[in-house]
């Protein structure tokens, strides 16, 4: 449960990376870029927060990208075609996605099926449902959208802290508090430590599983809404592959895929690290499609290896003591 050291290490890696990038491209060290980083990764930050809960509990949720896609289409159609007021559409889609997550959680628990596969089926299902709604991209013209996308707190240096960035920061903060300070959070860790054991200790494992996947899908739905603000449109193919991005962010943030350990702050840093890798590549601008991929892979490796190395270094004295026991 001690989240601090790995998080600190991730933070160090982030700052070091940022500094290195800024040396090469001084423009990077501007509030504008930082603002962009938050805005551009707002939806990723939100899903990744949900994913953190899932992964700490020992599960995984592959459906989030598709849920985002579905949400954007649903919201767009509801507002533009069905004439539903935006706020009602948001509530409806959040209820829908939360129900979807709850259903996946229930299947996982009741039938004792691996989350990987259940949520994979969920991924197909949500994407397919999106296609059924519309295969075209639907622009959203509701006035709320322009109001929200135009809203921004201006930072010194020309940077903008946009509404969706603020939503993301709020969700991350909420996630931190929920995981750290509540009984629910403690139970999430408990599930990750061992479902059977947690159950023997009196944790309502079934209920928790349902709630955790519900939370993840709910946040994916919210991320979908944010994504629709980001693009002012709904498109069934949006956010393909986001599940892997968010898993990567969670893991880079120091959360163990085996569950039981990790933190939301770490995930947030992981999202920023990924965003930074991309910013760097964009600033470079000379990379072909393939070198972009290769560079992303190399940077990903470098970050993880660096982090792993630091963790090993940090653990060294402790390892001797814990040795046999742990």
């Amino acid at each position: 449960m001690k989240g601090l050291p790995p998080v600190l290490i991730t933070a160090i890696v982030l700052v070091a990376g940022f500094a290195a990038c800024a040396v090469q491209f001084p423009n990077i060290a501007s509030t504008r870029v930082v603002g962009n980083l938050l805005t551009d990764n707002a939806f990723l930050g939100i899903v990744a927060t949900g994913m953190t809960f899932v992964i700490i509990s020992g599960g995984i949720d592959l459906s989030v990208g598709s849920v985002i896609g579905f949400t954007t289409v649903f919201v767009a159609l509801a507002i533009e075609r069905w004439g539903v007021p935006p706020l009602v559409a948001f509530v409806a889609v959040l209820v829908l996605s939360a129900t979807f997550g709850a259903a996946m959680g229930a299947i996982i628990h009741i039938f004792d099926l691996p989350p990987f596969i259940v949520t994979l089926a969920g991924m197909f299902l949500a994407r397919g449902a999106g296609f059924l709604l519309s295969t075209e991209s639907v622009p959203i013209t509701a006035p709320v959208y322009s109001t929200v996308s135009d809203f921004a707190l201006h930072m010194p240096g020309g940077g903008r802290l946009t509404a969706i960035a603020i939503i993301m920061l709020a969700i991350v903060l909420g996630g931190v508090l929920l995981l750290r300070l509540t009984r629910f959070g403690a139970n999430v860790y408990a599930l990750g430590g061992g479902r059977a054991t947690a159950s023997l200790m009196g944790v309502a494992v079934g209920g928790m599983t349902v709630k955790i996947y519900m939370l993840s899908s709910l946040l994916a739905g919210l991320a979908g809404i944010v994504f629709s603000f980001y693009t002012s449109a709904g498109y069934s193919l949006s956010a393909v592959g986001v599940e892997l991005d968010s898993i990567a962010a969670v893991v880079i943030g120091g959360t163990l895929l085996t569950g039981g350990q990790g933190s939301v702050i770490g995930t947030f840093l992981g999202v920023l690290i990924q965003g930074m890798i991309q910013t760097y590549i964009n600033f470079d601008g000379t990379l072909s499609s393939w070198w972009t991929k290769i560079a992303t892979g190399i940077l990903l490796f470098a970050f993880i290896a660096l982090q792993q190395g630091l963790v090993v270094l940090a653990r060294r004295p402790a390892a001797k003591r814990a040795g046999a026991a742990s």
Partner: protein, 513 residues
């Protein structure tokens, strides 16, 4: 206690419980009655069905038939949580706590002190500290439980169950990994609780403890109820006969060692062997045909010594020799290659591969030793498994059963079989008799003697000093992760060992003075 006519009303009544796992009938029409305020021992051989009965009563397993009444009302909990809510708190046999959570969180999981929906971390730690201090434990409750030894984990589990202040407290082999001191504390607490009217079910293979603490005894055999007696009026031999269904060829409880001083060639030796921050450098000679016992308090460095000797942990200094030739022990593979074997103390995490069958678990080490390209044929495997299942009386005697489904004691025997199958020259046993019933216990001790008569060298760790005294030719006493004393021959007895262990306090005082 409303019913003033009955001084000890029955609190928990179990009637006609049956439970089968596939073809295995683990429980058949078992009755069990627990009165308020009594300590009731539930006894039986390994695999008799004790743990299963407990799990059925607490709703972990669904039952096939029977009723459970708590305080006269029928209850049918469907989960451990429901059982807890009904007032039955349980410490299951294997430590069932979460190593990734802090000690405090483990103690207060799902019932943390809250304010405005937020866990009061400080308050929780304070209470955790207070609770554990009652058990004589002064540890950092904010650290992950996994950092601590099994013993501490076990105490934590007990403390948790006790603190739930239920009407019924069930303890499945709580003392298996505790030392005398901790057992004393636990018994003190149990007596207090009983006085408060709580009914306590106590499972143990230590008959001394049973006689010390329990009021009544229920014995199971092969999933059936054998009988229920008052402890005071049940002679020990009679109890053993009830458990085993036969007489126990009472083992030589006196020191049988040193009967035939044999050649005693050195099998393996360690000079100045150690690892900084792990265990202080030590010298150790292990001879063929000799049992060396390691004694000490919990956390004194016995397991650490064993792991260094086997190669599970790398030494950072010193010299190891096998049959006189100097060797490097960098990994368990090295140990196995040099003919060592090691039964670890934490059988669930370090020992068994739960999903694999008894046969596969038995041949695992031998196969690893032979290498990939020389697979044991199925016939050889069957033959080996069959032999050891019979020799160690592993029950049920089905080599194709996943080992995770065996009772705790039987799992332990499978581990022993795994190493015997490799025909080792040196066997390191960390708590080999933990959780093993009286019958098997004497079997294993007899086996240890036999093995060493055949020239095997043995290094045995046990918290049972009587046991160590019974079979050891030499005893090494550890304290604070250092080897402090070696006893041999006539000097080996419980008093001397205790003195060596306790010299601690005296020496410290001397040093301070």
């Amino acid at each position: 206690m409303e019913n003033s006519l009955d001084p000890a009303p029955s609190l928990l009544e179990v009637r006609g419980i049956s439970k089968s796992f596939g073809a295995v009938r683990a429980l058949q029409e078992v009755d069990f009655t627990l009165r308020a305020g009594e300590i009731h021992a539930l006894l039986g051989e390994n695999g008799a069905g004790k743990s299963t009965l407990i799990k059925v009563v607490t709703g972990v397993f669904p039952r096939d038939a029977g009723v459970v009444r708590l305080g006269g009302e029928e209850v049918a909990p469907r989960s451990a949580k429901a059982a807890l809510q009904a007032g039955i708190a349980t410490v299951y046999q294997e430590v069932n706590l979460l190593p990734n959570l802090s000690v405090a969180q483990n103690l207060f999981l799902d019932r943390q002190p809250m304010r405005f929906g937020i866990v009061r971390e400080g308050e929780m730690r304070r209470r955790a500290n207070a609770l554990l201090t009652g058990f004589g434990l002064d540890i950092d409750v904010a650290a992950p439980l996994g950092n601590y030894s099994v013993a501490i984990q076990h105490v934590t589990a007990i403390a948790r169950a006790v603190d739930l202040s239920a009407r019924v407290l069930i303890l499945d082999e709580p003392t298996a990994s505790l030392d005398r001191h901790e057992v004393e504390i636990l018994f003190g607490i149990m007596r207090q609780l009983a006085k408060r009217g709580i009914g306590i079910v106590f499972v143990s293979h230590f008959l001394d403890q049973v006689y010390e603490i329990s009021d009544r005894i229920t014995v199971l055999r092969n999933g059936r109820l054998v009988g229920e007696r008052e402890t005071a009026s049940l002679p020990r031999l009679e109890l053993i006969r009830m458990m085993l269904g036969r007489e126990l060829a009472e083992t030589t409880s006196a020191r049988a060692a040193a009967s035939v001083p044999k050649s005693r060639e050195v099998c393996a030796s360690f000079e100045n062997y150690g690892k900084a921050g792990y265990v202080a450098p030590f010298n150790l000679e292990l001879r063929h045909g000799e049992v060396v016992g390691l004694a000490g308090l919990l956390g004194s460095g016995r397991t650490e010594t064993a792991r260094l000797v086997f190669g599970a942990e790398r030494a950072d200094g010193g010299q190891a020799r096998v049959e006189g030739a100097s060797v490097r022990l960098q990994s368990p593979r090295d140990g196995v290659r040099h003919g060592f074997g090691y039964c670890p103390e934490e059988r669930k995490t370090d020992g068994i591969v739960a999903e694999l069958t008894v046969r596969e678990n038995i041949v695992l080490a031998l196969q690893a030793k032979r290498g990939l390209h020389r697979p044991l044929s199925r016939r050889e495997q069957d033959e080996l498994a069959g032999r050891y299942v019979k020799m160690l009386d592993i029950r049920p005697p089905d080599p194709e059963r996943p080992v995770g489904l065996l009772s705790g004691g039987n799992q332990q025997k499978v581990l022993l079989a795994r190493w015997l199958a490799t025909a080792p020259r040196l066997l390191v046993l960390d708590e080999p008799t933990r959780g093993i019933d009286v019958g098997a216990h004497s079997e294993i001790i007899r086996l240890i003697r036999e093995l060493c008569d055949d020239g095997l060298a043995l290094l045995v760790i046990s918290s049972e000093l009587d046991e160590i005294v019974t079979y050891s030719d030499r005893v090494i006493v550890l304290r604070d992760r250092a080897h402090v004393e070696e006893l041999a021959g006539e000097a080996i007895d419980v008093t001397n060992i205790l003195a060596a262990i306790a010299a601690d306090g005296a020496a410290m005082q001397e040093a301070r003075a």
